[in-house]
Symmetry: C2
Subunit: 341 residues, 2 copies
């Protein structure tokens, strides 16, 4: 009766649209954002960056940062290849990476678990030991959460932190002429996953990068005061650079030969018959930082002992991103990961 009322009231006889019909996850977020208030004076940056930037008090010297990620079993991780300790580490590191990408420091974590009734207590305890490992690394305190029952195992992590107002790094602040840099080699997580899925045994290096990555909070606080735009690489270089370019209304040239690849990623490419660049461009979950910086500030960064990799430069053409090959050929950069496409 009640369900029917709802359907009638909402004209549900028309053809039902699925999420992929409207263009996937990011389009859905756009549509939903239009329905709810997403802006007021206290929201410095809301939906659309790695973390929300919130003003707790005008006289405060820092902004509050808040980010959240949901991990679903067999979607974000599988017990075939990851033990609960790895899942716990990755759950914390992926959120901490979002705080790092804003130039901030994480402080407090809330964790909600939806667990099947048949879940072993030990599995959950080892999951928490993994979270504890990553929390200890970054000085994060578990401050709350929720536990409930579900058919599917879901872990939702919210991480709160802060950033000195002057050090805030957004996606929208890239400038033409900026160098494009990454903090480390790319594609290891995707290479490991491809190997596992095709029956190959990945190296320890690749396996760790996939199962229990570490975010770059070790250097993000020194990069943030000098960088213009910053994002963490969670969806793949192509997709994440796309976010910076779109929000900054700029373009980019990426020189394919300069994209740093670990020898094990190259070897994985040979083994599975794929160009290893595909892992770097389209594979997510590297949790390195991608940032743009003026050449002058890049020199300062080197003086701070932080090297990183220059992979291209920001251009004036809005949203036009080229991958420039060794021989000078250009092609549009594409790739990235969408949960609903």
């Amino acid at each position: 009766l009640l369900q029917k009322d709802y359907k009638k009231a909402n004209g549900n006889d028309m053809m039902a649209m699925k999420i992929k019909d409207i263009g996937g996850e990011f389009k859905l977020i756009d549509r939903l954002s239009d329905l709810v208030h997403t802006q007021n004076a206290s929201v410095v940056v809301g939906i659309g960056d790695d973390a929300a930037v919130l003003e707790t008090a005008p006289e405060a010297t820092t902004y509050l940062l808040a980010t959240t990620d949901m991990l679903v079993e067999n979607q974000h991780f599988t017990s075939r290849w990851s033990g609960p300790e790895h899942v716990g580490i990755k759950a914390v590191e992926s959120n901490a990476s979002d705080i790092a990408a804003m130039g901030g420091t994480p402080s407090w974590m809330l964790v909600s678990l939806a667990l099947p009734e048949t879940t072993d207590v030990e599995w959950v305890e080892v999951l928490y030991k993994g979270m504890a490992t990553a929390c200890r690394r970054h000085g994060i305190i578990l401050a709350g959460g929720d536990t409930t029952r579900s058919n599917t195992l879901v872990i939702s992590v919210t991480l709160l932190g802060s950033v000195p107002k002057a050090h805030l790094c957004l996606r929208r602040d890239a400038c033409p002429g900026d160098l494009i840099m990454v903090t480390g080699t790319l594609g290891a997580s995707a290479a490991a996953l491809t190997m596992l899925e095709s029956g190959h045994a990945p190296s320890d290096y690749l396996l760790t990068k996939h199962r229990a990555p570490a975010c770059r909070l070790d250097i993000s606080d020194r990069i943030a005061p000098l960088a213009n735009a910053m994002i963490d690489i969670s969806d793949g270089l192509a997709s994440d650079l796309g976010h910076i370019c779109k929000q900054s209304r700029v373009g980019a040239n990426i020189h394919s030969g300069t994209i740093p690849l670990h020898p094990d990623v190259r070897q994985a490419g040979s083994l599975v018959g794929k160009d290893p660049l595909v892992f770097a461009l389209g594979g997510g979950e590297d949790y390195e930082l991608l940032f743009t910086i003026t050449p002058a500030n890049r020199d300062k960064l080197i003086k701070l002992g932080i090297d990183g990799y220059v992979i291209g430069e920001i251009t004036v053409d809005p949203s036009f991103i080229s991958l420039v090959d060794h021989d000078g050929h250009r092609r549009p950069l594409s790739g990235g990961f969408d949960h609903f496409r």
Copy 2:
């Protein structure tokens, strides 16, 4: 191979314990809290109250509040009886109720959705319209979130807010001699659910209380400066009063005749052949506030135009909670809801 390694390393051949074997949800939370750092100087109150209380800066005049709730389809709501708009309202109100119970005001919300691939876009949009309704009511801004795919529909809401330091209300501050009060009638949500499950049609009043309740942010800011301990009634009066008594190391007498019941709840009891008190004591999700207050401050509350219901008093006997019947008989108060028992 890898999974086997994990099992071997963790001695998983021993009998696997399930969550219900260790005593359910609250025991699990206790065990998990021991594994991770949950305290430092910035955490005023961590796990174990309605929201985490966090110190963003010592010179700030307010504390940051953070709470999170996870809603799972067919566990917390069912499409048989609730449309997406109701689910959206309830998702926000249940979290806002936690902020109200601390004496605070909500400001920012993060929403993560795990959606089956077959979810109608319209369902999600109407869910967001419901959230927007409740957000508008309380001045809450949607500041971020995450969207992903899952077999089970899961909604995770994190709500951030603030409370003037002097107005903070914790579960642990009840004092012997305090009056025990509730802000409204109890049991309507549970009565509605029981009727629906047994094929009866609940009244509009009961149905709204079940599907789209409203939290008590309308009066919580006037109660908080005067109350000693406060909690919102989400698990049922018995369970939630139990939390106050346990954390305050006090006991309580509740006078059954004074527990406020709406006429429709009494009628629901007759229809389904249940003592309507059972709905109030054991049924959750009323989202009224339960607080303790000195008799002198209760008089001040009345002068502010807030009446409420006195249902008992705090006693010195730690954790001994009695339900005193009309004829003076006492029995231990029990009830409440645990997802894993």
